[in-house]
Amino acid sequence: MIHAGLTHFLVISVALFSLGIYGVITRKNAVMVLMGIELILNSANINFIAFARFGNFGLQGQIIALFIIVLAAAEAAIALAIVLNIYKNLSNINVDEMDSLKD
């Protein structure tokens, strides 16, 4: 049986981070873009917990992870409220069609 080490966790977190950035860049639907942002935040979370567990740094990393979960929730709530407001004004949430402000 293989035990998961620090490297395994880091590979997962980097993969999540890259997927998050990819999602933000390629997705047109605003909600999907926000999901990309959530992936980025959670990849950092995995990092914190993995480092705290395998680096013997004490509990700090896990406490930080709790903070980030709360913050991600707050950010998601605000971002979804903004998306809802966009939907009321434009009847769609396609980020490509939001071009009333540009050069």
């Binding site: 942002i37 480092f51 700090q60 707050a74 407001n85 939001m98 402000l101």
Partner: protein
Amino acid sequence: MNINNFISDLAFIKPELVISATLVIIVLFDLIFSSKKKLLPYISLIGIVVAGYFVINQFGTAVTTFKTSLKYGMVVVDNFSSYFKIVVLLASFIVVIFSMLSSEVNSNEERHGEYYTLLFGMILGMFLMSSASDLILIYLSIELLSLSSYVLAGFVKNTIRNSEASLKYVIYGGVSSGIMLFGISLVYGLTGSTNLYEINTLIQVQNFPYITFLIAGLFILVGFGFKISAAPFHFWTPDVYEGAPIPITAYLSVASKAAGFAVLIRFIKITFVGSTDSSGYWILLNIIDWKSIIVLLSILTMTLGNFAALWQDNLKRMLAYSSIAHAGYMLLGLAVMSNAGINAIMVYFIVYALMNLGAFFVVMVISNKIGSENIDDYRGLGRRMPFLGIIFAIFLVSLVGLPPTAGFIAKVMLFIALIDARMVAVAVIALLNTVVSLYYYIRVLKNMYLVDVEKEKPIIPIKLANGIVMILLAAPILIFGIYFSPIIDFAKNSITILGF
């Protein structure tokens, strides 16, 4: 952690406590006396003044509180943080007055409670940013500032411009703070600590994996670069500044940028500087070459800001690019990596706050009157609003950096710091940039005075309150342009950053 320590530590964050208390008072007042919303801005002004009193009282202390280890804590109270708190409070005071006079904000009077609540959320975030000495507190305070400003950018909910600005802001902001958090997690993994002072000692060991650390540092820089709208992280700036209500645009361009600079300077100074030599130059640890990175960033930022501003027809958008360019100039002060450079940035910020808020205020007054921010609609306005035209000229000339205004003094301080550090090539680039900026600022004045003057149109009167605010903003710019030693001395006394 000891509960007694916690209570004694609270004494060091009195300004933050006052801001939080005012925030709660505003929420409660809004709920209980919902018919007296006119009083909310006055409560905000009182809260800002009281917080200002405590900030000035703190001047001269240098402590680290909320200790997470034996020696160092999460919050630092020193003259440097107090100085930036004063800049933030000054900007907040002026912006509350702006909001009272803004037709965009006043059109939503039933939602004034949340407006001022969120404004105080922003102030609290900026206070913590200028005091934070722990990466997690830095991240949390940046998020506190960002979350409040996302909502305020879209305050006028039923206009498409506002909603679009806030959506763009939240997406760019979310991504850049996420990248920053990833960088912080890497730093935590490499050093086992999030405290800047501890990281400073921990990275001075042999065989430190500096390439990974370089990547982590650059990731963290993304978050700061977003806050100070430095290129290439500036994409949100023109859209958000154009779309948001004008008081919020003015606030973002001054206060939020000041806090971003405070946290960036502290981050680099505490984490990466080994010692300071006798003439005030910082000796960087041999880990990340911040000097080259910042020089590159600042040249890119000011060149892009100035050249993009040339094509703008919307005044708010033009001022957005101009604020990007100013961030570039100020980054040069950091690139010098010396106390003189920081001194120049601090002087620049006080002056920049006055002149930029003033310019936005004039744009707001004109937009209240003629309902447009387009440069073509400014034709002949110099004749129709003679007083306002002169005041606007003062702000614009100061933004260019010509004498006899304070903008000149700010730029001269910066160039002196650059030339003393033998960075002549960079100084020349900055000077050429200033020449470019002359074109787009003066173009506005040309449109106001020299185009379309033959058609007689009635004079548009302006309200007395608007006139008084304009004089109060323009007078210091002229006075500091001639009598500048007080702000320079004040800034010189404030460069003490705890630890070195």
